[in-house]
């Protein structure tokens, strides 16, 4: 029988604990109709992170071109996740990808232009993934809420349309609500930054020997940029997706899921 290498032994209980937690969470979430979602997402996350762990050091050695390509691939996956959350809206996939890409590039660039981080794969990939991941989360929340608002406020929207208002005017309040709701977790996190939780980048920088004030400055700059990227991505997505809920004759579609 093959023996388990000694360096893997402490990691086994962690992985077992993770699997147990995924199973328990999925079992608990069944009552909310989320059992399948949680078990699938948990299993995917576990496999993906294990694969990442085995290649991450190689990724950090990649050239800058390859790391940009890698970030583009991440954006495509993030865009697909948001697109699925939108109920697969017409033109939703390109709109999701472009919104997340534009917002992330715009808010990430200053960190490298100002030399806060050196333009190397080991910095570009992790920070880029934070921006893309957060923009995806906020966009998914925003589009889900926007779609719900449009469905629930059909009477109000049709009252606007009947007066000659365009779909953009008719859905303006729903759009605001969608973005507001999506930003609640980020705003709450920002309010409690350093009080309820100590953010990861700052912790990493401190453990790496950085000056606490410098680490804090980078953390707050990253934090606000991430929120701004999320807000921008979700605004773009909701703005461009409005037409997908309507026909060319400004009729609210009947087939909204």
């Amino acid at each position: 029988m093959t023996e388990i290498p000694a360096e893997l032994i402490p990691k086994i209980p962690i992985l077992v604990l993770t699997m147990i937690l995924i199973l328990l969470s999925a079992a608990f979430a069944r009552r909310f109709g989320l059992g399948r979602d949680i078990s699938l997402a948990g299993t995917r996350a576990l496999i993906q992170i294990l694969i990442l762990a085995s290649v991450i050091l190689l990724l950090f050695e990649m050239s800058i071109y390859w790391s940009v390509l890698m970030l583009l691939a991440m954006t495509a996956i993030a865009g697909h996740t948001t697109y699925a959350r939108s109920g697969k809206l017409e033109k939703g996939l390109p709109m999701s990808i472009i919104s997340i890409l534009l917002a992330s590039v715009l808010l990430l660039t200053p960190f490298f232009l100002l030399n806060i981080f050196p333009l190397e794969a080991r910095y570009l990939i992790p920070t880029g993934s934070i921006f893309i991941g957060n923009a995806m989360n906020i966009s998914s929340l925003a589009i889900d809420r926007y779609k719900g608002e449009i469905k629930n406020k059909r009477n109000e929207i049709e009252a606007y349309l009947a007066l000659g208002a365009s779909p953009k005017i008719a859905t303006a309040a729903c759009l605001t609500q969608g973005i507001n709701s999506a930003l609640i977790p980020s705003i709450d996190n920002m309010k409690n930054l350093g009080l309820v939780w100590i953010p990861g980048v700052m912790t990493g920088l401190l453990l790496g020997g950085a000056d606490p004030l410098e680490a804090a400055s980078i953390q707050i700059a990253l934090f606000t940029s991430i929120m701004a990227a999320g807000m921008l991505a979700s605004s773009l997505l909701l703005h461009f997706s409005t037409e997908s809920f309507f026909t060319g004759a400004w009729q609210l579609r009947d087939d909204l899921e």
Partner: protein
């Protein structure tokens, strides 16, 4: 002079029956010619397609086949913004927008960049001047319906579609709104489609009376 003409218009909708979607033909090959200034009452049981019939005229819903002509021009050839300005609609359940009564009445003005005397508009719809700056969402259902009527009239429509405008109101408010609308019909040069399921109300409305039954529109004669 022909104002609105329906030529062989049909429409089916999908209905959810016990979790199964069933296609139901609610408007079948309807032909109708309406002259400018006509007051047309449409009756029919619940679910007979009265609301859908009205929604086809301002294109909130699309016909499956047939043509609707407004001033001898197919409504599909009008930009939606122009069609809906010409064809106003008052819904069964009044929906007011966030803001004051004045904001609601001035909505069209803002949209079209025109100047309308809101005080005159409010007076026409029997809205007291003291209510103009009140929050529209705080009003009673009857008051909200008056705001919706005034808001539709602010667009100066040629045709007004009334989808059971009194059915969600108590008897007293319903009577006031009905009198208001009948007064406006006489006063303004409007072609009106008035959907109702109340036989008594239909009798009080002087004009052409139709019954929508099994997708067909049948004119009633006294």
């Amino acid at each position: 002079m022909t104002h609105l003409e329906l030529k062989d218009v049909s429409k089916a909708v999908w209905r959810n029956v016990n979790g199964t979607k069933i296609r139901s033909q609610i408007i079948s090959n309807i032909d109708l010619v309406v002259q400018r200034g006509d007051l047309v009452t449409i009756m029919g049981p619940s679910g007979s397609g009265k609301t859908t019939f009205l929604r086809l005229i301002n294109r909130l819903s699309e016909t499956d086949s047939g043509d609707i002509l407004l001033n001898n021009r197919n409504i599909k050839d009008y930009p939606p913004v122009e069609l809906r300005r010409k064809v106003g609609m008052v819904f069964q359940v009044p929906v007011v927008f966030r803001g004051s009564v004045r904001d609601n009445l001035g909505f069209g003005m803002k949209l079209w960049g025109e100047d309308i005397d809101l005080n005159v508009l409010a007076r026409d719809a029997d809205i007291p001047e003291s209510l103009l700056d009140a929050g529209a969402e705080q009003l009673s259902v009857g008051e909200k319906q008056r705001v919706c009527i005034a808001r539709a009239l602010a667009n100066r429509p040629e045709i007004l579609l009334l989808d059971e405008p009194t059915s969600s109101l108590d008897m007293e408010s319903a009577r006031i709104i009905e009198e208001l609308l009948l007064g406006l019909c006489e006063e303004k040069d409007l072609t009106i489609f008035w959907v109702t399921h109340e036989m008594e109300q239909a009798k009080r409305i002087v004009g052409r009376r139709f019954v929508l039954n099994k997708g067909r529109l049948e004119e009633e004669h006294d």
